[in-house]
């Protein structure tokens, strides 16, 4: 789980860098490379061939492995989604056309899962990013032992989903859980977190928030430290207070970073799986007795591995993929709009 966002960040930067650096590098090579003998000699041909083919050879492992383990399963899933396939009868698939998709669209469980994914996504992502922004702002001040604070912020991110969720499940347990124990001091009756409609979603979101706020805060912090100090100085000269500096200098300068975290968090929220599965305990893939926190990922897992209906599970997988594309398109539109408004 840890490397995902880093990987994306890495990809983003290298993609940005690539177009600029490549031609330069090529030019440099041409300058340096002195073709040893006249054209037509096999060495120069080899040399040219090397120049052309090597880059492809270097990047090919990624594409070969992606093809074998990413693309083929992806297409095979699409094939499955058009068939009636049971886990116990993989060889006996029958053509179903779009039945699996039709079945999904008319299934209350699917719409419920879609709704849950959305609401849990909102109540986990929005507070998480806002808190991360605030924390990053605080960490950006000169603090004693700032490294310690930053490391502490990152510890939840380094814990495993399973361990974190297990602890949270105990904290939220109905009878004798710490959350209910604390609530009783303010006169709130014990809440059955797992089985109440909003309680379950809230609890799952809180796990997500706990795990990811620190990570986002560090990303914001890194971006904040790249903001030139003279901007703040001139703002201060103009009489801006700290809050105004934050609003009118920090936030606008962070805009690309904020967009990045929003995109990544949205994708993460769409794929939310581990936390609700483990939070639910036994039969966790149901996402609660009334599916009150069953996300799309859980619904897919339940159909595929719980019930054994692989055709329908594949249809859910592809529907999720389409939803991600739509979400990405919306993100792109908003990004463009924001860029124009700048």
């Amino acid at each position: 789980m840890t490397s995902s966002k880093q990987a994306l960040a890495h990809l983003a930067t290298s993609a940005d860098a690539a177009p600029g650096s490549q031609p330069g590098a090529a030019r440099g090579a041409q300058g340096r490379g002195t073709p040893p003998s006249g054209p037509g000699s096999w060495r120069s041909r080899l040399y040219r061939w090397d120049m052309k083919a090597s880059p492809y050879a270097f990047i090919s492992p990624f594409f070969i492995i992606f093809g074998a383990f990413g693309l083929v399963p992806l297409l095979y899933t699409a094939w499955y989604s058009l068939h009636n396939v049971q886990l116990s009868g993989l060889d006996h698939q029958t053509w179903a056309g779009l039945d699996n998709y039709k079945n999904l669209l008319s299934s209350e469980f699917f719409w419920n899962a879609l709704g849950n994914t959305f609401t849990i996504g909102v109540i986990s992502t929005v507070p998480q990013l806002l808190m991360a922004l605030g924390i990053a702002h605080l960490l950006n001040y000169r603090l004693r032992g700032s490294t310690v604070w930053r490391v502490v912020m990152l510890t939840p991110y380094a814990t495993s989903v399973a361990a974190a969720t297990l602890v949270f499940t105990l904290l939220y347990s109905w009878d004798g859980g710490m959350v209910n124990w604390l609530l009783h001091f303010v006169g709130v009756h014990p809440i059955n977190w797992r089985e109440s409609d909003w309680g379950g979603q809230f609890a799952v979101s809180s796990i997500v928030i706990w795990r990811w706020t620190g990570y986002n805060a560090l990303i914001y912090l890194a971006a904040m430290q790249a903001i030139p100090t003279d901007l703040y100085e001139s703002a201060a000269l103009d009489g801006a207070g700290r809050w105004q500096q934050f609003r009118h200098v920090t936030v606008p300068m962070l805009r690309p970073t904020i967009l990045f975290t929003v995109v990544v968090s949205t994708i993460g929220a769409t794929q939310l799986f581990g936390e609700p599965l483990l939070f639910g305990g036994v039969s966790g893939s149901k996402g609660g007795s009334a599916h009150q926190y069953q996300t799309l990922g859980l619904y897919m897992y339940d159909q595929g591995w719980g019930i054994g209906n692989l055709g329908k599970a594949s249809a859910i997988a592809w529907t999720m993929f389409l939803i991600l594309l739509i979400v990405a398109a919306i993100n792109l539109l908003i990004t463009r709009r924001l860029r124009k408004s700048q």
């Binding site: 789980m1 994306l8 383990f69 209350e108 109440s196 929220a269 149901k286 007795s289 019930i307």
Partner: protein, 441 residues
């Protein structure tokens, strides 16, 4: 969550795995070669055949020292057990491997909830063990569950799960109830509704902080375990909503769910374990294999407080089989091992270790539970209580989707009534919608 660039992350992992695998494969591929050449050469080398056995949970073979014993008897064999903790992870994995015809272990365990699916859809992937053994060794219903319509037996019975009621004597005394196990058993004999009625009595004078039973679905499962009509009929048709067994068990569970006698715990949750430790419920329907669990979770303070009485009906919960996949390379050796592991003497040894109850009646005569278990449960005649139950358990028919249907009823229907305050009708309808989805209707 956050598998944002799941693909790239996965690819990274795969690249590493691929790199490692090339190394490993080289190592692996040489093994079988060595093995076969050794056996061909006969005396020249001490070639060992390694048998693998795929199990889930704790089968107890290793714990009871059976593997060591077998390899001592057969020095040419070595045994490796591949354990997957959870059945819901183990079974899908095994299904795909069986159908791929690769990656299966030489012996593969099958849980009772999956046996119907295995018999009806995977029979051609297993060796017919019926020809290899004397089938009359086993309880008849046990073997018939693993036998196809045309008489092929794909698995040998390991343990079964005869039920009893485990109860807290001390709490019963405080609530002013009978504490003698035979008298109690007589009070609720024949009907789970009577057991639930006793629960109402218990709640009138219940010691504070305690409930009568751990959950409504545990009552449901226990009651259904004693019914001959479950979710499927003999011919494999789904009859769950007309089944008299389901209705009776559902009604008993509803009485529990709508009263205050349930501790409202979900079995095998961490909170359920805490419930044992805190003594927050006075009874639990316990199959033989649960004895060790109760002992462990209740801890030393529960010693001598727990007692065991015969359940209202002879019921079964759980139990397993072991089969030999046809994809295995050492079928002959695997069959011999499977026969040996499921023989009455070996089943008795597993019982002595962890109270998994034998499916072979020949073992019942000289069953000895572990001494500390007997002491823990107030010197109750455990062997006799479970043995009596085992002999009268009705023949039950399981179906392909038995497990998902059961989940829909207990973890959706009953749980909604018990924990979300829905009415029994609403709970039933929720389960119904769920089962429709399960069956793809």
């Amino acid at each position: 969550m956050r598998t944002s660039t799941r693909r790239s992350r996965r690819l990274g992992a795969i690249a590493v795995v691929a790199a490692l695998a090339t190394g490993l494969l080289a190592g692996c591929s040489s093994d079988p070669d060595n093995g076969s050449s050794d056996t061909n050469n006969g005396g020249s080398g001490k070639g060992k055949t390694t048998l693998t056995i795929g199990t889930f949970g704790v089968f107890g073979y290793k714990q009871a020292g059976l593997y060591d014993e077998y390899t001592k008897l057969h020095p040419e064999i070595s045994i490796k057990e591949n354990v997957t903790t959870r059945t819901d992870v183990y079974w899908p994995k095994t299904l795909t491997r069986l159908q791929a015809g690769a990656g299966t272990d030489d012996i593969q365990a099958i849980e009772i909830g999956n046996i119907a699916e295995a018999v009806q859809t995977q029979a051609d992937k297993f060796v017919d063990l019926g020809k290899e053994v004397d089938k009359s060794q086993w309880l008849e219903w046990k073997t018939s569950q693993a036998t196809t319509k045309d008489g092929k037996t794909i698995g040998l019975g390991t343990d079964i799960g005869p039920m009893a009621i485990c109860y807290r004597k001390d709490l019963f005394a405080k609530a002013g109830l009978e504490t003698d196990r035979t008298k109690l058993a007589a009070q609720w004999k024949g009907d789970w509704a009577k057991y639930v009625d006793l629960g109402k009595q218990y709640m009138k004078k219940a010691p504070s902080g305690t409930k009568f039973v751990d959950s409504a679905s545990s009552v449901y499962n226990a009651a259904l375990g004693g019914e001959s009509e479950r979710y499927y009929d003999k011919d494999g048709n789904v009859i769950w909503d007309k089944s008299s067994g389901v209705k009776k068990s559902w009604n008993a569970a509803m009485t529990v769910a709508t009263s205050n006698m349930s501790a409202k715990l979900k079995q095998f949750d961490p909170t359920w374990d805490q419930g044992f430790a805190k003594g927050s419920f006075a009874t639990v329907a316990c199959p033989a294999w649960m004895m060790g669990y109760i002992q462990e979770k209740s801890g030393a303070s529960g010693k001598g407080k727990w007692d065991v009485a015969a359940a209202p009906t002879a019921a079964n919960w759980g139990g397993s089989f072991i089969g030999v996949p046809t994809a295995g390379k050492h079928q002959k050796e695997a069959i011999a091992l499977a026969k040996w592991l499921t023989a009455p003497e070996q089943q008795a040894k597993v019982f002595a270790k962890q109270a998994s109850f034998p499916s072979t009646p020949a073992a019942y005569a000289d069953l000895k539970p572990a001494a500390d278990t007997t002491a823990y449960f107030s010197d109750a005649p455990i062997t006799q209580i479970f043995g009596d139950s085992a002999k009268t358990i009705p023949v039950q028919y399981f179906g392909v989707k038995d497990q998902p249907i059961n989940t829909a009823i207990s973890d959706v229907g009953i749980l909604q009534v018990e924990q979300k305050g829905k009415s029994p009708d609403q709970g039933w309808n929720a389960a119904k919608a769920e089962i429709k989805d399960v069956l793809g209707q």
